[in-house]
């Protein structure tokens, strides 16, 4: 499956690595052009480093820098979409849809990866995923990219069945791990997670529903 132009649409610095880091590394190795459209700077995040090195007012600066480093590790570009953390669901949906559709029409990707709306746990994930799905639907059929959707909710498999795309990314684990570690302010909030072998194993497989699995 060759994807030349891939756009990833998630709301927070670190979503790109957790959900799609291995897949990105794989695409890049195969010569694809991947851009991360990052919705917010994660400025309302709860993790301030451990020991604490950020505060509410400086967190976005740290996270912007971490995102810069992570995207360098992954070998991709990023664009900041300019929304504020925790508030995407309160913006008028049509405005975000138009914003994304206009940009997608310019960029003409073969593939868009975003969150599965309603199954992505964080309200920003659900809201931006919803807008991205709508934006793709509004595009002319001949320009419409393929859509892969990342679900996080424990409820996803029960409600939606198994994702159509299950990718073993253990071959790219070193890159994904390195990118994860660049998200330093968030890293120690991840410690619990990363110390658990089963959770680590989960991160070595990346799963995506496809557009026709939407409901």
């Amino acid at each position: 499956m060759s994807k030349q132009r891939v756009i990833i649409i998630f709301p927070h610095p670190d979503d790109e690595t957790f959900g799609t880091g291995g897949t990105i590394a794989d695409f890049i190795e195969k010569g694809a052009n991947v851009t991360y459209w990052c919705g917010t700077l994660g400025d309302m995040g709860r993790n301030m480093g451990n020991p604490v090195f950020a505060n509410r007012e400086t967190l976005s600066t740290h996270r912007r820098k971490e995102l810069q480093e992570a995207t360098e590790v992954l070998g991709i570009d990023y664009v900041h979409l300019g929304y504020r953390d925790k508030t995407i669901e309160f913006e008028p949906l049509e405005e975000i849809v138009t914003h994304l559709r206009t940009k997608l029409e310019q960029e003409k990707p073969d593939l868009v990866i975003t969150h599965f709306p309603g199954y992505a746990v964080h309200p920003d994930h659900d809201a931006l995923g919803r807008a991205a799905v709508e934006a793709v639907k509004e595009m002319k059929e001949e320009e419409r990219p393929e859509l892969w959707l990342h679900a996080i909710s424990n409820q996803a498999a029960t409600d939606l069945g198994e994702p159509a795309i299950v990718r073993d990314v253990s071959e790219y684990w070193d890159t994904k791990w390195k990118a994860l570690r660049t998200h330093l302010s968030q890293a120690d909030g991840m410690v619990d997670l990363l110390n658990r072998e089963d959770q680590l194993e989960r991160l070595k497989t990346e799963r995506f529903y496809t557009g026709d699995q939407l409901r």
């Binding site: 709860r46 301030m48 007012e57 600066t61």
Partner: protein
């Protein structure tokens, strides 16, 4: 940020009394609380750039942390669980309470100029 020294923070609170100030007040237990524990509720609230004037304010030690109350003409600003503070280079009083993993649980910040609110602005 460093651990709150009550007397020092009290002086900072006093310095803003009687002046129009902008307040950021927030509490959160994270967006994933109910994802990792089905019985947990996600709880959070924030107000950014509330423009108020307080006649006086006080910081009280609770042993483990601190409470701050600011008396307004028509009400109060209140925060509990504060543990750390700093006065940043813009002379803003930033206070926060963190758990043992450095995660923010509560924040109360006071400034004479508005806090960044544009999506893109950062300092």
């Amino acid at each position: 940020m460093e651990a709150i020294v009550r007397e020092d923070v009290q002086k900072e609170i006093d310095a803003f009394a009687g002046k129009p100030v902008y307040v950021h007040l927030e509490t959160t237990n994270g967006a994933y609380a109910s994802h990792f524990n089905e019985k947990a509720h996600n709880v959070g609230a924030f107000i950014r750039n509330a423009n108020v004037t307080y006649s006086h304010g006080k910081i009280i030690s609770t042993g483990g942390g601190y409470r701050v109350g600011l008396k307004l003409e028509l009400g109060w600003v209140y925060a509990e669980g504060l543990t750390d503070y700093e006065v940043d280079e813009q002379n803003r009083l930033l206070m926060a309470g963190h758990d043992e993993q450095g995660r923010l649980m509560v924040a109360l910040e006071i400034s004479q100029t508005p806090f960044a609110h544009e999506a893109d602005s950062h300092e």
